[in-house]
Symmetry: C2
Subunit: 217 residues, 2 copies
Amino acid sequence: MPKRVDHGERRKLIADALMRVAAERGLEAVSLRHVAAEAGVSSGMVQHYFRTKDEMMTFALSVVRDRSEARVTRAVSALGDEPSPRTLLRTMLTELLPLDEARRADGRVALAFLAFTAVRPAVAAGLHQESAELLAFIAGQIRTAQAAGATQTRVDPDRAAVALLAVMEGLGVYLLGGHYPPETALAALDAQLDLLLGPEPAAQRGRAAPPRRSPAP
Amino acid sequence: MPKRVDHGERRKLIADALMRVAAERGLEAVSLRHVAAEAGVSSGMVQHYFRTKDEMMTFALSVVRDRSEARVTRAVSALGDEPSPRTLLRTMLTELLPLDEARRADGRVALAFLAFTAVRPAVAAGLHQESAELLAFIAGQIRTAQAAGATQTRVDPDRAAVALLAVMEGLGVYLLGGHYPPETALAALDAQLDLLLGPEPAAQRGRAAPPRRSPAP
DNA sequence: CCGATTACGTTGCAACTGCAATGCAAAAAC
DNA sequence: GTTTTTGCATTGCAGTTGCAACGTAATCGG
């Protein structure tokens, strides 16, 4: 074998460039040459690692998914042991909202891919599984919160989970569209959590998000 | 003046073709020639009515908006005089969900435009106004429902309106992605209305939507 | 040392893109 | 009846697209 190169690393490099292009100018500006230029490589190299554009797009979509998942797990693991369902859910969902420029960029890409997969259903397979898992997890958290007796109004946990995830997605879409500022979205999200789990403990009130252990290196 | 032609009519004809193309193959497949072919006209004619592609896109976006607005007003006006806030809200929001193929097609186009405007903020101006009006209306309905004493848990109407609209948008996105069937979305929407306005009157239970006066001509 | 294999870079091509330019027919204005 | 304005079709062009083809340099197994 000749010059050994980490295939996955190169592919991720290219996918990152693709996401930068997509975040700035939309998916329709994603071409082999643009991505190559953004990544600072030749377009031949892009073709070397992705035999077709579709393959590149599919891979990039999986990177988007992985990245948001990593974001969530990192934020959640920073919560310490056995956080309350409310804290856990709030942390997860706020982490997925486009509240700063980094997440806005990711959000624009995700939204573009959402529209993309709506027309090419074959690519969307992985997304279904992820949202199903997320829904199951949220429903579980709501269930344990209800078992702890925090709420007076019992709601079906599965339906509540679907609604809660939809709230998050909808808020994200409207935030990306600039329809209202982040505070409005956060207020609505908290109101929704109040509805589902009862009013939040006074200790947490006003905290935008739990503090990070350390900034990314 | 020569051969008189209804300008607006032609433009709408072309915009309809554009939406058909966008619904089937995405906005990235929208080109002058594709749209012209779909509309059954020459590409020169398209250029005659839209001097630039951007002008055509902007107009099509406004048509999308008008169409969904018309859908809502038609469904609402079929409700009769002074429907309850809950019936009104449910009718409006259900009408906006992609529950049948016609609305799915519209939804795909709307989603594509959402991603489109997220990258070209200049085009999004009209959308902000529309969502602001919708939010104000929803908040008003929630307020009157609360004044009627239907709910025990008082929630801030403005936040509740933001959350409710976000639920609808999020459900729409997930429906378009095929993440769950329409029944799941409807169940979640009803659960949300239960949360905000209290449990629904037994008379309405299980009705998917109020019957239409007459099918479209 | 040597074919074989891998990692690129370069070039080329047919198809497509938005758009300008031109042509022309019909009908209203005069 | 001529002129002028409008509606629309055709053609052409420069730029971009995805992709195949070919080239070359490096590096390993033998």
